[in-house]
Amino acid sequence: MTPAGSLLVAHDLRKAYGPTNALDGAGFNIHPGEVVAVMGPSGSGKSTLLHCLAGIVTPDSGSIMYGGQEMATMNDAQRSALRRSQFGFVFQFGQLVPELTCVENVALPLRLNGASRKDAERTALARMEQLEVDDLRAKRPGEVSGGQGQRVAVARALVTDPRVLFADEPTGALDSLNGERVMELLTDAARSANAAVVLVTHEARVAAYSDREIVVRDGKSRDMERVV
């Protein structure tokens, strides 16, 4: 049963990599505009949960409903189209195409959706301004700092106005100052766009930017009471 108003809901997800059970009955739900942190120790299955929720990995069993539609019924092309149009992604590192300039990187999802180059880059630049990286437009990823690169990645994730933003350890490779700046910009931009954010992290200070926390341990998930 789908909780009322939920945008993305998962039940009893199971996923094994060889003999290792990455997910063992995990569940999840998120509402539009909500920021949910998925926490847990290394190897607990939190990234696998994110990959399943985003339709990148197909779970062995269980159900994932997005906008009332069961994702298991979608084929690879449909899931790819969903990711292109409805989801955005930020990863820890290695996500920007090194050959493209920053503005081209940000414009890439729009171009994959069929936008013209000019329109895509205009929209991309607006997002980059919002994330205060518009001055990097002509630089390549190799020429910018880690924090700047991550803000470019956030701009790219938000450029299609996604309904869900998946962020997998988005500050894992940054120092605390840069990490906090990226999280501020990420959550502000997501909230202003009413996008839900699935935030995978093992850092409490990063999770503090969320509305709700879920802990994954040994492939099982449970909601945490926020201790203030």
């Binding site: 790819s80 050959e99 493209l100 180059r117 390549r140 790219r156």
Partner: protein, 800 residues
């Protein structure tokens, strides 16, 4: 403890301050750092091994090809030795020895079946001690034959039934390898009691022909030198490319070493150690590949060439040179590559800042090469002093120089490209950022294409020096097949013609008996013997009955007709000459009837004109004519697929000694054919190797980008978008490389043609190579798709 830990604990703690100073030189430092590099290559986990393996496989392919090249002298020499050993000792002179207990008669029985040549010999022992050919226990008895295993296999198949009719002997044994050129050779020895000296056979007492060494035609020598350079330079470039596989990740690892105190020289030596391990592994794998691959040689026949595995043995000095030079070259290449990369403690500078390639020094090599060739001496077929070193050096410099030009040209070309759809943009941006590895991968095909264009230009221009026209020519019509019987007692022209006309696929046949007659002053003219119906097809006859003779003149050929008249004088005697295998035989004098009229020839059904004496059988003495030959021309139905083999079978049934030749517009010189075959075989191997190298390089690049590919897929990039991007990324450098190959090949070809003083026959020879390049791009892309698909899997996103 990780490898890094081990490396650092050895270098970084107790002796780190001193190592920097030590690292500046000394054999001890060299050995230590090479050893560290080898440890990185050998103990780098799965990823490290994968990179080492890729390098090893790349080098192995090159080494295997080099070993095949190093074996070529032995392959050719043992083939030649076995071929000479089975020839009767008087094969060239055709002068018979006297009959004895240990002599035998032989007659060549070669034939062709479809596209295959079937070598053979008819043998007849004069006594019990007559020796058998190599690989055979005894001379087969009449009606029996021994065959090569390949021929036995062919005769046992339904496809060989037509050949079996022709070789109508009972198979009593097989020819051992010592009597064959290779395992796929079609060869037989048949016993026959129908062969005789009169029938064209030759008597010999033993086998083993010792050819006199004939110096190779200078033009051919030049071609052979060119072929060696053209085939081996790309192999060298390929090996140089292979030792740089995985260079990007290695550079990042070396940056980590810089962070803990390794200086630039140390990291260069460590990188050299890694390359050394990969190349030594490649030499070992290449040796194994060569040993395994040569076992398949007996099953492979390329353009009629095959070899026994035991023949494919590299010359020892060459093998040693390969084993030493390849690892050494890998170290040199790595050290020179490291010079263009600045590995700093916080990363590789190359990744952050692009340095434009300079053109000027890249022009030096091809310019010097062209200058050497331009100032070399001209070569003519009789030249005695062709300097192979100069030609090889000049050609190699041009080809290597072209390889050096390619990265600059690719960079310059892609720098100007803008816009386009996403796959195009991804590919172009990738090339703009780093076109070096793509250009290196393509440089092999570029150099091979340029070299092949040069060779094709030279072949085209020099062809005239190596071809001899066959057939009468000039009439515009010629028989599809010509048959010639050596047996002056055997078939009559009429019997041969009737037999041929009944053969399936024959549209027309025309046979007659021909001989030569000489006049009193030694002048010679032809004598054609046929019935009136046939003679009317050869000349305009006022009337004709059996017993008539004519003197035939060619219209408009006054000089030739005067020569005919010197011999063919009506009322005067002429001599029928017979220069058989044993020299002049007793001559036969015959008087040309005084009432022989002069008639004008017309083109006979097969297009020839027969001037000289035309005679009906009744005008000549009964019995065989000394020196006469029966010849026939045949026109075949172009729709008949097996007509040629049907005719050969008919001919063999009528007379096993009949020589059948199929019309070809040009009959190539055998040496020319051999050289061209070598080029085809080598070129094919080269193309396969290049395709493999491009594929390995492509997969290596994809491996480096596994995570990025997974991320791109995660946010919804279509797989086809990335596949197109891979295609463009391969196609653009190949396109630029093909342009350079065409320009460089045509320029080098022009210089070479100037050297041999020949005009170019066809400047469009580069088109097939452009086509091959296109096919290779598609092939490499297609084969890259499965690994691309695999590397786009979400597993690439996992970090735990």
């Amino acid at each position: 403890m990780t490898l890094d830990d081990r490396a650092h604990s050895g270098d970084g703690h107790s002796s780190a301050p001193n190592r920097s100073a030590e690292g500046l030189g000394g054999p001890g430092a060299w050995i230590r750092e090479l050893g560290l590099g080898i440890r990185f290559a050998a103990a780098g986990g799965r990823g490290g091994w994968a990179r080492t393996f890729l390098t090893g496989v790349g080098v192995a392919l090159g080494v295997a090809l080099l070993l095949v090249a190093a074996s070529t002298p032995n392959i050719l020499s043992v083939r030649s030795e076995r071929g000479d050993a089975r020839k009767p000792s008087n094969v060239m002179s055709s002068s018979s020895v006297s009959r004895s207990e240990s002599s035998f008669l032989w007659l060549a029985g070669d034939t062709d079946f479809r596209s295959d040549h079937v070598g053979g010999m008819l043998l007849r022992a004069d006594g019990p001690r007559a020796p058998a050919p190599p690989g055979v226990a005894r001379i087969p008895a009449p009606g029996e034959m021994v065959v090569s295993p390949a021929l036995r296999k062919l005769l046992d198949t339904p496809a060989g039934a037509l050949l079996k009719e022709r070789l109508d002997y009972r198979i009593v044994g097989s020819i051992a390898p010592s009597g064959l050129l290779d395992a796929t050779e079609l060869h037989y020895y048949a016993g026959s009691d129908r062969i005789s000296l009169d029938a064209g056979a030759v008597r010999a007492a033993h086998y083993g022909y010792s050819p006199r060494h004939k110096p190779l035609n200078a033009l051919l020598y030049l071609l052979v030198v060119m072929i060696c350079v053209v085939l081996l330079v790309p192999v060298g470039i390929f090996i140089a490319t292979a030792v740089r596989f995985g260079g990007d990740r290695r550079d990042r690892r070396l940056a980590a070493l810089r962070l803990v105190g390794a200086d630039r020289r140390m990291v260069a030596r460590i990188a050299a150690g890694e390359a050394l391990f990969g190349s030594v592994l490649g030499v070992v794998l290449g040796g194994a590949l060569f040993l395994v691959g040569r076992q398949a040689a007996g099953y492979v026949r390329l353009w009629g060439v095959s070899a026994y595995p035991s023949d494919i043995v590299p010359r020892l000095p060459l093998a040693v040179l390969i084993a030493v030079a390849v690892p050494f070259a890998s170290v040199v290449v790595t050290l020179s590559a490291m010079r263009s990369v600045s590995v700093e403690p916080l990363g590789v500078v190359r990744n952050a800042r692009l340095r434009r390639r300079r053109l000027w020094w890249r022009l030096v090599l091809p310019a010097v090469g062209l200058a050497i060739l331009l100032f070399s001496d001209r070569v003519t077929p009789g030249s005695q002093d062709v300097d192979p070193a100069t030609v090889a050096a000049g050609t190699a410099l041009v080809l290597v120089g072209l390889a050096g030009l390619l990265p600059w040209l690719v960079e310059a070309a892609v720098a100007r490209l803008r816009g386009g759809p996403v796959p195009w943009q991804l590919a172009i941006r990738r090339l703009q950022l780093s076109s070096g590895s793509a250009a290196r991968a393509v440089s092999g095909i570029m150099v091979a294409s340029a070299g092949a264009i040069v060779l094709q230009l030279m072949f085209g221009a020099m062809q005239q020096s190596f071809i001899t026209p066959s057939g009468s020519g000039g009439t515009g019509r010629a028989p599809d097949l010509t048959l010639m019987s050596q047996d002056r007692n055997a078939v009559t022209a009429a019997r041969l013609e009737n037999g041929l006309r009944r053969t399936p696929g024959v549209r027309a046949a025309f046979a007659l008996t021909e001989a030569y007659v000489s006049g009193p002053e030694g002048s010679v003219t032809g004598l054609a013997v046929a019935d009136c119906a046939h003679l009317r097809k050869m000349a305009r006859l006022p009337s004709c009955r059996d017993g008539d003779t004519f003197v035939a003149h060619n219209p408009g050929d006054a000089a030739g007709n005067r020569y005919v008249d010197q011999t063919a004088r009506p009322g005067r005697a002429v001599t029928l000459d017979d220069y058989g295998p044993d020299g002049p035989a007793p001559e036969l004098r015959w008087t040309l009837p005084a009432d022989s009229p002069v008639v004008m020839t017309v083109p006979a059904p097969m297009g020839e004109r027969y001037n000289g004496i035309l005679a009906t059988p009744g005008a000549l003495p009964a019995g065989p004519l000394p020196g006469a030959r029966t010849s026939a021309g045949v026109l075949t139905d172009p729709r008949g697929t097996d007509a040629v083999d049907e005719i050969r079978t008919t001919a063999a049934r009528l007379d096993p000694t009949i020589y059948v030749s199929v019309r070809q517009n040009e009959q190539r010189d055998k040496e020319y054919d051999t050289v061209q075959t070598g080029l085809l075989v080598g070129g094919t191997l080269m193309m396969v190797l290049i395709a493999a190298s491009m594929l390995v390089s492509q997969i290596e690049q994809l491996r480096e980008r596994r995570r990025l590919l997974s991320v791109l897929v995660a946010f919804g990039t279509r797989r086809s978008t990335l596949a197109w991007s891979v295609l463009w990324q391969t196609a653009v450098p190949v396109f630029v490389g093909t342009l350079l190959a065409a320009a460089g090949g045509l320029a080098l070809g022009h210089v070479m043609l100037r050297m041999v003083q020949k005009p170019a026959k066809d400047w469009w020879v580069f088109l097939p190579y452009a086509g091959v390049a296109g096919v290779l791009v598609l092939l490499v892309t297609l084969l890259s798709v499965p690994p691309l698909w695999r590397m786009m899997r979400p597993e690439g996103l996992r970090t735990e």
